[in-house]
């Protein structure tokens, strides 16, 4: 019997081994490498070995206006995107959950943009944001104005808003589905108890649904924020198609440009490490929250 247990242990390890090797080569090693090279000067294509430069990549970044511009662009994008996403997906989910008919249809309609690839999403909106495109037409119709051009892709502020809209459109349905699952996981008996105690629908929502949704809300908030910090596609597409880069050069885009266009691998890696630390911090909070806020019925 002992030997059987032992044999099983060996097999278990064999099954997990490919994964261990994979994560070491393609996750931990690159992470360590990024950390190491961030203290070096290295040109992307030069064969010369990296030269140790201490903290100078970090010092350079902290003094560089391009880096702070990216921090600002990323922060504005993240805040401007994840806050509306959380609010709207919560509202959509609560309302969709009250529907007795067509619930599935609504879920699918709201989720459908998440199925498209981000480049396709950016392409569609790129055409709609043209001076004679649908976005201007819609706003002119809404405010009953005549052919006002909102300069979606040329004015700096509107360009930021444009990238936010593309992202919001693509992902709001995704988070709506997560909230719907959260709402569905609240047992019916809790609602029934509240109704028996004389609570109206509104009170049931305010004092039962909403508090019990707190873990889901926190989770969606942090998850969507981390995702928005990683945004790349829309910004890259818009810049490639001729939009000004400055207002939308988010950190990921800056890392890419610094490494590939400027060929400064050390500097790009220092920026990567800063991004890594920021995202790890939020992920850690997310882990903590999902642990402490768990509700058992």
């Amino acid at each position: 019997m002992k030997s059987l247990e032992r044999k099983k242990a060996v097999w278990g390890f064999i099954f997990v081994l490919p994964a261990i090797v994979f994560f070491i080569i393609f996750n931990f090693y690159p992470m360590g490498y990024a950390f190491w090279i961030s203290f070096h000067k290295k040109n992307l294509i030069s064969l010369r070995p990296p030269k140790f430069v201490g903290f100078s990549n970090y010092i350079y970044l902290l003094q560089s206006s391009s880096f702070w511009n990216s921090v600002k662009a990323t922060a504005i994008f993240a805040l401007g995107t994840f806050v509306p996403i959380v609010i709207f997906s919560l509202i959509f989910a609560v309302l969709i959950s009250t529907r007795k008919r067509f619930q599935k249809f609504l879920e699918m309609a709201y989720y459908s943009p998440a199925v498209l690839s981000s480049v396709v999403a950016a392409t569609i909106w790129f055409l709609m944001f043209q001076p004679y495109g649908l976005a201007n037409q819609f706003l002119n119709f809404l405010f009953n104005t005549n052919n006002i051009d909102y300069k979606w892709l040329s004015s700096e502020k509107m360009l930021v808003l444009a990238t936010i809209i593309v992202y919001f459109w693509k992902y709001v349905g995704y988070y709506t589905i997560i909230f719907i699952a959260g709402i569905a996981s609240i047992p019916k008996s809790v609602h029934e108890a509240a109704i028996i105690d004389g609570a109206g629908k509104w009170q049931d929502f305010l004092y039962i649904t909403l508090p019990l949704l707190k873990p889901t809300t926190l989770l969606v908030s942090i998850m969507s924020m981390i995702q928005t910090l990683r945004t790349f596609s829309t910004q890259y597409f818009f810049v490639q198609s001729g939009a000004p880069i400055k207002p939308i050069e988010v950190i990921t885009l800056n890392i890419y440009n610094t490494a590939i266009r400027d060929m400064r691998v050390g500097r790009a890696s220092a920026m990567s490490i800063i991004l890594l630390v920021i995202i790890m911090f939020f992920t850690y909070i997310q882990f903590k929250i999902s642990r402490t806020e768990e509700i058992s019925y």
Partner: protein
């Protein structure tokens, strides 16, 4: 009576709100398909003619042909299919294998391995992509399918999902197979794999879509036009001077149709994927 009228009115308002937003959310999709069969003058016309009177089906032909007439898009679509399918197959195999190992076997350091794998969830791809690119280049996988596929073969979420799915699998079934003399790998192959189809399907769809959508990694890895994937082609097509807007929308529509068909056919797996992602606790 008044209360009932109020309820009905509130109900109606909710319907109008939900359907209104559904229309807004769906309209860019409708725009894409409508514009994909329009002459380019119509696409930027005020007001936008949702249904064109002049069907330009040749837009699709133009998209496939490309501006240089080399039918690069066809090749690109093929590349995306290959990369996304192979990644999905590999992910299914390796994630279920590791998930099974972590769920059903006791070995020294199992918790450590699990924590190690889970901790990679904290590493955003964008933060390690540059060193990863250097490593993959050094391995000689630059500008190859392998370079696009191998570094994305596994992720912590897939393994975790498989582990959670398999952890409740009845132990007696496995032991019965062992007594019958089945090998450990045989048990995985003949019992575990066929019995985890729902989880595997969800994982396959998530992976396929992620690769179909991936921009940043192919951008780093691919050098020659023939190796491009769909997102890279569309970006280039959009930035070319002579690209017709209708053809651009046709290219976008072609890229979207396979995913939309999958979504309509297998919507519950897509939606389950989103829900599972939210449930990743423990």
């Amino acid at each position: 009576m008044l209360k009932r009228t109020l309820t009905i009115t509130a109900d109606l308002i909710v319907w109008i709100f939900l359907i209104g937003f559904a229309i807004i959310i769906l309209s860019p999709l409708v725009f894409m398909f409508a514009a994909s069969i329009m002459p380019s003058e119509d696409i930027l016309k005020v007001p936008f003619p949702w249904i064109t009177s002049d069907f330009h089906w040749q837009n699709y032909w133009k998209a496939l042909k490309g501006n240089d007439g080399k039918f690069l898009y066809l090749r690109t679509i093929f590349n995306s299919f290959i990369v996304a399918s192979l990644t999905s197959l590999g992910t299914i195999f390796l994630s279920s294998l590791a998930g099974y190992g972590l769920a059903k076997f006791k070995f020294k350091g199992r918790m450590f391995v699990l924590m190690m794998i889970l901790s990679t969830m904290m590493i955003p791809f964008e933060a390690i992509m540059i060193p990863l690119y250097l490593i993959v280049t050094k391995m000689g996988m630059q500008d190859t399918y392998a370079g696009l596929i191998v570094p994305l073969l596994l992720n912590a979420f897939g393994i975790f999902m498989m582990r959670q799915y398999l952890i409740t699998f009845p132990e007696e079934l496995l032991d019965a197979a062992r007594i019958d003399g089945a090998s450990e790998f045989g048990i995985y192959w003949k019992i575990i794999l066929p019995n985890s189809l729902p989880a595997i399907t969800t994982l396959a769809i998530l992976t396929f879509r992620a690769q179909w959508d991936n921009l940043i990694w192919p951008l780093l890895i691919v050098q020659t036009p023939k190796k491009k994937t769909i997102p890279l082609f569309i970006i280039q097509f959009a930035s070319e001077k002579y690209t017709d807007e209708g053809a651009l929308m046709a290219a976008a529509a072609i890229a979207s149709v396979p995913m939309l068909i999958l979504f309509i056919k297998l919507s519950r797996y897509f939606l389950a994927g989103a829900e599972l992602f939210a449930a990743r606790k423990d």
